[in-house]
Amino acid sequence: MKKRNLIVEAIACAVVIFLFLAPLCRLVLMSFTQGSGFGAANYAKLFQEPRTLRAIGNTIVIALAATVLSTVLGTLFAFLIAYLNIKRKKLLELLVLAPFIIPSYVITISWTSTFSRNGVMNRLMHLFHLPAVNLYSIGGIIFILGICNIPLVYLTTVNMLRKIPRDLEWAARASGCSRWGTLLRIDLVQAAPAIIGGSVLAFLACIDNFAVPAFLGIPASVPVLSTYIYEKAIGFGPESFALASALSVVLGIVAVSGSLGISSFARKSKKGDSIRADFSERVFLSRRTRRWVEWGGIAVFSVLDLVPLLTMTAASFQNLYGQRFSLKNLSLENYQFLFTNRGVMNAVSNSLFLSLITCAVCILVGTAAAYAKSHGTGPAVRLLESCASLTYAIPGIVLALSMIFHWSVIPGVYGSIRILIIAYVTRYLILQIKGSSAAMLSIHPSLEEAAHVSGSGRIRMWKKILTPLLFRQTISSSLLIFVSSLTEMTLSSILAAAGTKTIGLSVFNFQQSGDYNIAYAFSVLIVILILCGYTLVQFVCREPSKNRDSAHQRSAGALRPHQSELSHKMEGTIS
């Protein structure tokens, strides 16, 4: 290697370590700091507090129960959609995946609107002499987290189920195994690694999630680790930061070891990867049963997704909270407030600015990294990739805390919008690296060589060959980054200052201060914003349809953009 390259590599490595690793190291150091010396006293003190133990216990119970819920529903619907001869699969899949696009705090808010004390559902429950449902409880958190993570299990499982060759089933049938026996003994066993992988992802997402326990658990004083860290971090006191960092280390270790667990698991069951997915139907139901299953599935998910969104929308047009919905109380007051309040408008423009900048930086850095990776250059890229995976795998609240410790030392970063940009890029970069790498893989090196041979320079090659070929896949994978940073709440809840509030944080504040109807209206706006974003990207990334064949493929793959994003997301967590 040339000397100049060596220096470039060294500088790149140093930058990566400074941006990605140093904050985490500082967090670990902080957790061992007490007064002026070092020691494990912070940990000792933490574990003496009964509230810590309760938070740990709650976290585990909630995460496990929610994982069971999302695993059961995710696997069931993956099976229905992959194998059954039901119709309206696209609609059903859209409904199953909806919680993946909509941020978890919007889902939480919509459910609280449905189950508000005088809400539709609770009146209905009363009618049937059932006790009222209180979502502000452990059960409520479990339920919402379970719904939010269904897509994680669903997507890993549905792809695996489709990749199981039909021959394997037929061989079992020919060996005398019945159809349902085959599903149980062949398909379920083959899909088990994917189901387990998906449920571990769901478990990690539960641990990571801050919004749901913050919205439901803080009012009910049900602490979990992520909200407990938040309380400690924003609480005043001489040791609060040290204690929060000690807790963060505990949570971070749980999350990272979980991720490592899946990655070793994923490596073991890598074999199925090259097999093409088979979209044909495998289990044929009679017309009647098929109808039942079809509409039953749609009904379940309509209740899970649409009903809360609708009640929330209805409530957002009411000027009084907790009243029975009536046309008399209909008003646009809440929306008027949103559109005239400077703080709100400021938050929206902050979030839009943040997500655009994050996307732009991620696309540039991520694509460059993917290009360097595919051309097998030095260790800096590999270091970047593993560090970026690490900052994605650890819970957001932990990353936020480490950002504070690291960047407050450098003047002009903490307290301005810069720290949010840095935090978002650190958090989401891996998604773009994965997305761009996948896009790069589809470009054979010979295409580039051909461009060189036919006399193209580097710039022209990028302009004429690589950019057009990479464009669609890159954009569709940066969509996830865009939506995630637009609706981000965990990082900004700790890192945002007075002038740099984001959308997520504003909703959180409205909810905390009891302005429920405004929070509803804001959430409705967020959903509309997301839908517009998705439609736009679908439009930009639509496949040019040349003949009926590709048109057919497109219709089958209408949901492919976010499927591929999700797989990046998972790979991001895994590796």
Binding site: P165, D167, L168, W170, A171, A172, R173, A174, S175, G176, C177, S178, R179, I186, V189, Q190, K271
Partner: protein, 345 residues
């Protein structure tokens, strides 16, 4: 068990995959379904297996109705074994577990464990896998994998064995040696075998009877000798025997070739071909000479194959394939005449 496939058709929407297929297969017979890809041969096998339902027609095994448009005995109750092109081994099971799997079904619950165990080792022995019993599929070579699939298919001694291009995924040499093993299994089990392939040499080598299919229809069914020596359709002629089809005029048993007006004797030629004005000649039935009374032609391509040389020669705009012994060598673009050897037909 004998099989009767009676006027079976299969439609996928408007696509006709099989149309009006009829064949009776005797107990213990080895029947090859031969045809190019997309001819419907695999569809036919799946219908017999019960993986799909016919749109029309009936399938009987012995006297039992297996398939009709409205009734379909489930696969698992058909008492058959199946071998797939892709091997279809379960990646999480060892060789022994594969052989054991069919015996785990309720039907065999009455057989005691030691008997099952000896049956398993016997079967593994018969396909030569005793030493590999504890291996997983990804630790086996292609040939070994297909032996596992064979063991799994024959362990319950099914009366019908379905084989869907079992040798296509193997390399050339292994194909030849596995043919023998499949023949051994046929003799050993006495099962009726329905074997799908696109490889005519495989069909000729192993089958008691060959059924040639094309575009969902049966072109010709008969013993390998009948198919090879007496093709009844142009497709059967060119697909199996690689026949060249000369054009000309038939006068009873005499054929006048159109470009040279030579006359050939053709008592054995099938009437269907006669009607079309065709005369089939296999590549090895021609002899190349520099001069003489034959069909004038020009050498267009030659491929040296060791035992013989394959020539493509052009005669009045059409290409004819000729296999000639190595001692006669001709150059490209050389003008020659083709003379038909006597005594074959």
């Amino acid at each position: 068990m004998s099989l009767k496939i009676s006027n079976v058709s299969k439609m996928y929407g408007a696509n006709i995959a099989l149309s009006n297929v009829f064949i009776e297969i005797k107990d213990g017979e080895f029947v090859c379904i031969l045809g190019p890809s997309g001819c419907g041969k695999t569809t036919l096998l799946r219908l017999v297996g019960g993986f799909e339902r016919p749109s029309q027609g009936l399938i009987y095994s012995g006297d039992t109705l297996y398939s009709s448009p409205d009734r379909c005995v489930p696969v698992e109750r058909r008492n058959l074994g199946m071998v797939f092109q892709s091997f279809a081994l379960w990646p999480n099971m060892t060789v022994r577990q594969h052989a054991e799997f069919p015996l785990l079904q309720k039907k065999y619950a009455g057989i005691d464990a030691s008997k099952k165990k000896s049956l398993i080792s016997q079967t593994l022995e018969s396909v030569g896998l005793s030493a590999l019993a504890n291996r997983y599929p990804d630790e086996l070579s292609g040939g070994q994998k297909q032996r596992v699939a064979l063991a799994r298919a024959i362990i319950t001694k099914p009366q019908i064995l379905l084989m869907d291009e079992p040798l296509s995924a193997l390399d050339a040499e292994l194909k030849i040696s596995m043919r023998k093993e499949i023949q051994d299994i046929h003799r050993m089990t006495g099962a009726t075998i329905l074997y799908v392939t696109h490889d005519q040499s495989e069909a000729l080598a192993m089958a008691d009877r060959i059924m040639i299919m094309r575009n969902g229809e049966v072109e010709q069914a008969g013993t390998p000798e009948e198919i090879y020596l007496h093709p009844r359709t142009p497709f059967a002629a060119s697909f199996v025997g690689k026949y060249n089809l000369l054009r000309g005029i038939w006068d009873h048993d005499l054929f006048y070739e159109e470009s040279s007006n030579l006359c050939f004797q053709g008592q054995m030629i099938e009437p269907e071909l006669k009607k079309m004005g065709l005369f089939p000649v296999r590549p090895d039935e021609f002899q190349i000479q520099k001069h003489g009374n034959g069909i004038p032609a020009k050498i267009k391509n030659r491929q040296y194959c060791g035992r013989e040389i394959h020539y493509s020669v052009e005669s009045s705009g059409r290409l004819i394939t000729v296999y000639a012994p190595v001692r006669e060598s001709y150059k490209l673009n050389e003008s020659i005449v083709l003379i038909k050897k006597d005594g074959m037909n």
